[in-house]
Amino acid sequence: MSIYKDVVIAGFGGQGVMLIGNLLAYSAMEAGLNVTYMPVYGPEMRGGTANCAVVISDDDIGSPIIQSPVSLIIMNRPSLDKFQPRIQDQGVMIMNTSLIEAELADTGRVQAFGVPCNDIANGLGNTRMANMVAIGAYVQATGVLPLEQVQACLAKVISPHYAHLIPKNSEAIAAGAAHAAKYGTL
């Protein structure tokens, strides 16, 4: 069976869901895989809910748009309400328990990893790195790519102006992965 992974990443505009979608997709390309990255690009970008879909495969990719994702990264409550009913049975969901109550996870149907992304990021010095914590947890939970591959691609998706933040973001990715490895599913 060939490799096939997809994920919908959703949150508030400003939580950096597009950035980690780009990071994941770029990392997959660097790993020699095929990948599509499909953002929403409408008024959502200006402050409402934002989401993007990333599909990774070693075969050519059909649809870049996913109705029933294999996995989810959910950064806020409205995104949980919208996407949790659509995830496939036994799909992997990373849920930001800093902003969402853990008991809202449909643990009977979904492999839900509760990760307090904002709290972990805060502990590292900047709550805005919550997105990096989440992508670290996702990579750990799914094994889609080596964690180092994702960390190495930070420089490709973060503008040179913010290059000094890359080591901290890399740390946040590692912290997210460590949390997922330590605590497992809810």
Partner: protein
């Protein structure tokens, strides 16, 4: 994992088109902003000047299209891009380019319509693109990419075909293709001919007779002759027909879908195939001229047909024309304004297969 291809870059479909145009030697880009194609002028505004070309943000879509007419009259590879409402405004210039045989390249990243519609994806401009679009008996050569790489490759091809036939060529994409990012492997063609327009370009008449490009033919018999010539040219364009064929050989039913919908349908077909049901796909890459022959051949083999489009039923007419003496095609419409997913197509395909 597949073989490492380090030369790949990760770009939106819009940027793939802009990069393809530069690789093809496009020296003039004229545009006017509209979502969802703004990445093309944004990229071009810097990159084409870096490449020694010219960028103009025109005062309107109409002006931009007429600037392409002017540049191509001088034998320069030139392009404009827009999205549906803006493409409607360009139709006059397209008709004039077709009438005076000038090789402009026009990109339409289609959005929902009619009117201003929305900024989401749609295939509602199929008729406009493949039937000429403006006034008079003319056709564009229309290429419909479904991926970033294909967008890049077909943009290079668009310039070659435009100059080969001295006819405007359209890249027909949509908001999905334009906004989606994918890895592409850029390449530079090595067959660019600086003298490709030497016989007809306007470059000052020093040492030769003046040349005239026109679409007005008032002398008796003159216009009839021009129209006959154009029709012969459109007939000759059939040599460029291209399509993707996916698992058709043993298929009981052929899904016909172009552009983004073609690739989304491919996901559905893979899923249905895994249950043992025999479904195939024909994805036209040239939508004018249309790959009628392959459809007719498949119809003669007794296969059923289902056309899927992101509009209310446009290309299905070309499918029906192709197979009309043998069978008919079912049609499934994904409504413009909705975002199509592979799940949406499963039931209609199964229904058409059993029906």
């Amino acid at each position: 994992m597949t073989e490492q291809t380090p030369k790949r870059i990760f770009v939106k479909g819009n940027e793939a088109i802009a990069r393809g145009a530069l690789a093809a030697g496009c020296k003039c880009y004229f545009g006017y902003p509209i979502t969802p194609q703004n990445d093309i002028p944004e990229f071009m505004s810097q990159a084409i000047r870096d490449a020694g070309g010219q960028f103009v943000q025109a005062e309107s879509e109409i002006a931009a299209a007429n600037m392409v007419l002017g540049a191509t009259a001088c034998g320069i590879r030139a392009m404009t891009s827009s999205s549906s409402p803006g493409i409607s405004l360009k139709q006059e210039a397209l008709s004039y380019m077709a009438g005076s045989e000038l090789p402009g390249v026009v990109v339409n990243m289609v959005r929902g319509g009619p009117g201003l519609g929305d900024i989401g994806p749609s295939q509602g401009d199929y008729f406009q693109s493949t039937r000429g679009g403006g006034h008079g008996d003319y056709r564009l050569l229309v290429l419909a990419p479904a991926s970033g790489q294909e967008a890049y490759d077909l943009t290079i091809k668009a310039f070659d075909l435009a100059f080969k036939y001295r006819n405007p060529v359209m890249i027909l994409g949509d908001a999905i293709l334009g906004q989606m990012k994918e890895p592409i492997a850029p390449w530079i063609p090595d067959n660019l001919d600086p003298d490709e327009a030497a016989d007809w370009r306007l470059d000052g008449a020093k040492g030769r007779q003046p040349r005239l490009h026109k679409s007005l033919f008032l002398q008796e018999g003159e216009l009839a002759q021009q129209n006959r010539h154009l029709q012969e040219k459109y007939e000759a364009m059939k040599a460029e027909i291209d399509y993707e064929s996916f698992m058709v050989e043993d298929a009981d039913i052929i899904v016909v879908a172009f552009g983004s919908i073609g690739r989304i349908a491919k996901s559905t077909i893979r899923k249905i195939r895994s249950t043992g049901k025999k479904v195939g796909l024909i994805r036209p890459i040239t939508v004018y001229p249309y790959p009628s022959e392959i459809l007719k051949t498949l119809a003669e083999q007794g296969k059923k047909f289902l056309t899927i489009e992101h509009n209310m039923g446009q290309m299905v007419e070309d499918v029906r024309l192709a197979i009309r003496t043998i069978t008919d095609s079912d049609f499934y419409s994904c409504l413009p304004g909705n975002l199509p997913t592979p799940d949406d197509f499963e039931e209609p395909i199964l229904k058409a297969l059993e029906g």
